[in-house]
Amino acid sequence: MSATSPFRRAGLVGPALLVVLILVGVPLGIMAWVSLLGRGSTIGVDWQSAPSFANYTKLIWEEDFDGTLLFNPTYLSILWRSVWQAAATTVICVTLGLPVALWMSSLTRGARDVAILLITIPFWTNLLVRNYAWLIILREDGVVSQTANAIWPFGPVQLLYNDTAILIGLVYSFLPFMILPIYAGFEKFDWRLLEAAYDLGANRRRALMRVIIPLAMPGIIAGAMLVFIPSLGSFVTAAILGGGKSMMMGNLIQLQFGQSRNWPFGATISVVLLALMMLVLMGIAIWKNRQEAKR
């Protein structure tokens, strides 16, 4: 077929590209600018204020009455919670996802399709609904809470509105994102390698550590990216299961755009969130390059 002319191509690709640039690229630019401005009195931003890094210092230090800077751990602790919640979610998802993917790949073809469907159905269910379901299970007067309180001898057990509840919700929200890439990797596997390992006298543990995990690594990395990044920027889970006490970065951003009406500070946290995400993506890119260099 005749090659597409540059003009035709621009006409075809241009509209979609423009829509994404105008509605995603430009807003992110505006956000970076707003993060340097001061808060407004009526609407969220004072567009006339002189740009400064005041919002960024506010993340770490608090200004006292006389202008001295005091260390303020409030925001840092929320940042830290987001990072470790996302990391813990990723680790749990790998621990659960690897055996599930392995098990799925050992099934017959028809059973595999059913297993994929069973894993994907909860993922297609609305995120709010998925987290709400855990709210019902973990609530104070629910069966689980009452049983836990009956068994646990040391005072009342609170299952909701804490970091554990958020962790359960995050794993529940993103687990399929880990299982499916690992499984996709296993589908392409040459399983004779595993047979060879056993023939050469490897026991199961050794076969797992030396054959299965190294070969599953690209899937694990892809899954880790798909789990870590949305967990880091999640809002719904902590909003429903954290009950306003346990906040993550997403909730802090929402708070600034909602009740606090401090848009520039909200923009600042968003910029930090994007920067953290970039760091993770860069780390993964470096790891991939190194893996390819090894080959």
Partner: protein, 257 residues
């Protein structure tokens, strides 16, 4: 002996399936509970389904969601179709263009949502469907683009060549050869974009104005107000719709092979 079967993988997998489905089952079961407090089981009833059917705010929210998802689905699919056709040949900067088109997949939604809010406030666009539709189109583009692109890559180029050899002009070739071959990809892309928009909460949450509440936004505020069997009933309906869509697209995918 199945070599791939390591000890415990089966047990862990079954436990994971239980973990995935217990919340769903609990949610559905409690939607049939007659008791308002949702904690005590009194008797089975369909009251809550009847209540959500006649609730005007739920009806309006459902309507808004459907209008928004249809507009976003059609808009995103048309833009993505054109983009996928334009991306067929190699050119300089192709990787970058592809990365920009797929950026909404990887960017945290809350960040894009508040950034779009700031853009719309800065240029004076009122919140509501006029703000939500373009924003939804933007983040639905990759969901429509990826299936269409995949279908296009799997297409045999000699079919188009044959059409042109037989004196079909560009338009006829597209209309009679490319489009029919691409159709399953287009439908898959539209379905994905439609479902993504329908399920979206965050973007709508920040950009909806008075009277343009969508179903997820309504559910969120209802959850914030407290647990009621009413929410369970709406959730169950949404769950059934999602599952029906997934199973249908899965079966359609099987049929095509």
């Amino acid at each position: 002996m199945n070599l791939r079967r390591l000890p415990l993988t089966r047990e862990i997998s079954l436990a994971v399936l239980v973990y995935l489905y217990v919340p769903v089952v609990v949610l559905i079961v409690y939607s049939f509970n007659a008791n308002r407090t949702a904690t005590v089981w009194s008797e089975t009833s369909l009251d809550w389904y009847r209540k959500i059917l006649v609730n005007p705010s739920i009806r309006d929210a459902t309507w808004n969601s459907l209008v928004l998802a249809t507009a976003a689905g059609i808009g995103a699919t048309l833009l993505a179709l054109a983009a996928a056709l334009g991306m067929k040949s190699r050119f300089r900067g192709k990787g970058l263009v592809e990365a920009v088109l797929n950026a909404p997949l990887i960017l945290p939604e809350i960040v894009v949502a508040v950034a779009t809010l700031m853009l719309f406030v800065a240029i004076g666009i009122d919140m509501g469907l006029t703000a939500m539709i373009p924003a939804h189109i933007a983040f639905c583009i990759p969901f429509a683009y990826l299936p269409i692109r995949a279908r296009l890559q799997g297409m045999n180029p000699s079919l188009e060549e044959a059409a042109q050899d037989l004196y079909a002009n560009r338009f006829v070739t597209f209309r009679r050869v490319t489009l029919p071959l691409l159709w399953p990809g287009i439908m898959a892309g539209f379905t994905l974009a439609f479902v993504t928009s329908l399920d979206d909460f965050l973007t709508s949450f920040f950009l909806s104005g008075p009277g343009s509440t969508t179903l997820p936004v309504y559910i969120f505020s209802a959850i914030r107000a407290g647990i009621t069997p009413e929410i369970n009933a709406i959730s169950t309906v949404m769950l059934i719709v999602s599952v029906a869509l997934v199973v249908t697209s899965f079966l359609l995918g099987k049929m095509r092979r």
